[in-house]
């Protein structure tokens, strides 16, 4: 028992580390999607933030400057998505794909132009990163943990949250109540940008010591899966992020380990979040009901 405890603690700690970017992204996605704006661009915003944070930290030597740059980059992409989806009434999925491709291309293009090492940024010294503050975790992990009750509170307990939920279900009702549909949705999309910005900063300034190309490696999509798996609610989505983080840790621990004489393929763990989400969406286990007005452009007027 005494020998097991440190093992469990390390497992929990590892899970939290892997889940941190997922949690931040999922909470960001929650704001956007609960307001009716589909966001498959979580991945791109997080990638752009990771790059911007590492680049700024490399140049200024300051982690907080990195955080500011990371959030700035993600907010910029969030605005692009917002303009296309809200003001222009364009296809939100297409816009999300564009954001992802832009981030994928721009990070390497600028990285190569500025640092000339194949898209990566220089390795950062500890002083330019977010280092451990409590129990082996840094401040961004704490921010991720704090984002969950905060999201839950804002969505469920504030006027803004009430209107945000309303606009995702019935924009006509919101308009009839004399509240601006576009204004609410822009705020939601920007909240999403801010949180994905922190997530990206975590990847390049805390989990790693710098940016490397495509370093998000699909985590934005896993966060999207967690959001859907959590049925667009803060606490269940948090649980899904922890589950997927745990699966990740397990995949690393079990590499090369045989269970009952059969080697467990790592890939099985990797696809678990996606597979579970597909099964959930197909209604084989429970039912994930999206906000009613999600993905539909709102054209004002009567």
């Amino acid at each position: 028992m005494a020998a097991l405890l440190p093992e469990l603690l390390s497992l929990a700690s590892g899970t939290l580390r892997m889940a941190t970017p997922l949690i931040l992204c999922a909470m960001g996605g929650l704001f956007s999607e609960r307001s009716g704006i589909v966001d498959i661009g979580l991945e791109g915003k997080m990638l752009a933030a990771a790059f911007a944070a590492a680049a700024a930290a490399a140049v200024t030597g300051s982690a907080s400057a990195g955080l500011a740059a990371g959030c700035g980059a993600a907010l910029l992409l969030a605005l692009v998505h917002g303009f296309a989806s809200i003001t222009h009434g364009g296809n939100q999925v297409v816009s999300g794909v564009a954001v992802n491709m832009l981030a994928s291309g721009l990070t390497i293009t600028f990285g190569q132009a500025w640092f000339a090492s194949g898209g990566a940024t220089p390795a950062l010294p500890a002083s330019a990163r977010f280092m451990t503050v409590v129990g082996g975790h840094n401040i961004l992990v704490l921010a991720a943990l704090a984002s969950v009750p905060l999201t839950w509170w804002v969505i469920g307990r504030t006027r803004f949250g009430l209107r945000l939920r309303a606009v995702g279900e019935s924009p006509r009702a919101v308009q009839a109540a004399g509240v601006s549909v576009a204004g609410l949705r822009y705020r939601a999309v920007l909240a999403c940008g801010l949180l994905t910005g922190i997530a990206g900063t975590y990847l390049s300034l805390a989990q790693s010591a710098g940016f490397s190309r495509e370093m998000t490696a699909g985590q934005g999509y896993i966060a999207l899966a967690a959001l859907i798996f959590g049925k667009w609610r803060a606490l269940p989505a948090f649980g899904a992020c922890l589950l997927f983080g745990f699966v990740d840790v397990l995949a690393i621990r079990l590499q090369g380990v045989a269970v009952a004489g059969v080697a467990v393929p790592v890939q099985l763990f990797q696809v678990l979040p996606y597979g579970l989400t597909v099964i959930l969406l197909a209604g084989f286990v429970g039912r994930a009901v999206a906000p009613k007005a999600i993905g539909l452009p709102f054209v004002g007027g009567r």
Partner: protein
């Protein structure tokens, strides 16, 4: 022309999309400027790298082949009102299918029999991988966009697993299968040209290029000259009319997505049978997503898709070469351009409508001034 007035049809179908694409390229030029390089120099380098000699041209066309396949896949689904972002996964499965057939039969069957079977396997595997999300949408109500995204990742993991654990060539250090026998190789273009008496520089361009053109023609014929295509378009343009006409939307969804997946799966034959001659990782390399840009830019028309594919082929090949000439510019600039095209021609489609309106008003005023001038002199 009134400010809020409608544009003539030719402008709506031709001018506005063209201006949208121009906006995308203008934005790309700004990115290039931002990294301190002259856009014109980049343009020159890209054109030289892509079209400078016969070998480069071959590479350009080889890249374009993949884009034609995935662009057609996306466009066909678009016409039915379906958004297939699973081209990436379907391409992987197509390569897997064709690779499995080649591995199993390349010592048994002669080339003339093996190749059609292997091509059919690519189509079948791609179709099968698309059929699952399609069926889930038609029968279980889960949205095709999310499931096809998830299936991309599942396909990638599946390929890794199979290559690392099952199909890996004995004694190989990297995750790839043994090389196929020559029977499983698609004829290369330069070999064909040499047989006809033309000297041609070697390039990976192969017979899949012809398959791609045939596929474009077949998609065009299907869309506008068959009952299936007619019903598909009704479904995409007005689902209410499809219900009214008695078009079985569920069955059509599965059928259309299967065809779309089969087209995406054909990337596998170009890469695996045409070039690699073994099954490797990452051969789909973003063509699935690139196909979205190609389809949007080509206005979902097979002819437009072939042209857009050529452009993206040029960008891909020129982009690959450009880092030699201008080290500050990486080939990922091509991804940026694809992203911008998806943004401006897709999510922001019609963005340049006010610009088109202004241009027409300007042209109209200029014309009427010229027409009006002699009249006033007479008067």
């Amino acid at each position: 022309m009134r400010a809020g007035g409608t544009l003539p049809r030719w402008a709506e179908l031709g001018l506005v999309p063209l201006l949208d694409v121009l906006c995308a390229f203008l934005a790309a030029a700004l990115v290039v400027l931002a990294i301190g390089v002259s856009p014109l120099a980049v343009l020159r380098a890209i054109l030289a790298g892509a079209l400078g000699d016969a070998g480069a041209l071959g590479y350009t066309l080889y890249y374009a082949t993949n884009f034609v396949f995935t662009g057609l896949a996306v466009a066909l689904a678009f016409h039915a009102g379906l958004f297939n972002i699973g081209g990436e996964g379907q391409a992987i499965l197509g390569g897997l299918g064709t690779g499995l057939v080649a591995l199993a039969l390349d010592r048994v069957l002669p080339g003339w029999l093996l190749l059609p079977v292997a091509i059919a396997a690519a189509a079948l595997f791609g179709a099968g991988w698309a059929a699952i999300p399609a069926w889930l949408q038609a029968r279980r109500g889960s949205h095709i966009v999310i499931t096809t995204i998830m299936f991309n990742f599942i396909a990638a993991a599946l390929l890794v697993y199979l290559l690392v654990n099952v199909l890996i060539a004995p004694g190989s250090m990297s995750p790839e299968t043994r090389a196929f026998q020559p029977a499983a190789s698609l004829p290369l273009a330069h070999d064909g040209l040499r047989a006809l008496g033309f000297a041609a520089a070697p390039s990976p361009l192969n017979a899949s290029g012809l398959v791609a053109l045939a596929a474009a023609a077949a998609v065009w014929f299907t869309l506008w000259h068959t009952r299936f295509g007619y019903r598909l378009r009704v479904m995409g343009l007005n689902p209410g009319a499809a219900l009214y006409a008695g078009i079985p939307i569920g069955r059509m969804t599965v059928g259309v997505l299967c065809l779309s997946g089969a087209l995406a799966g054909m990337v596998g034959i170009n890469e695996i049978l045409g070039v690699q001659h073994r099954l490797i990782l990452n051969f789909s390399a973003g063509y699935g997503f690139g196909g979205i840009a190609v389809a949007l830019m080509g206005r979902n028309h097979p002819a437009g898709i072939v042209l857009a594919s050529l452009l993206f082929g040029i960008l891909n090949q020129g982009g690959a070469e450009i880092s030699f000439d201008i080290p500050a510019v990486s080939r990922e600039m091509v991804t940026v351009i694809q992203g911008l095209v998806i943004l401006f021609s897709g999510a922001l489609a019609g963005f340049s409508r006010p610009l088109a309106r202004g241009l027409l008003a300007f042209a109209g005023a200029a014309l009427s001034r010229r027409a009006g001038a002699p009249a006033s002199r007479e008067g």
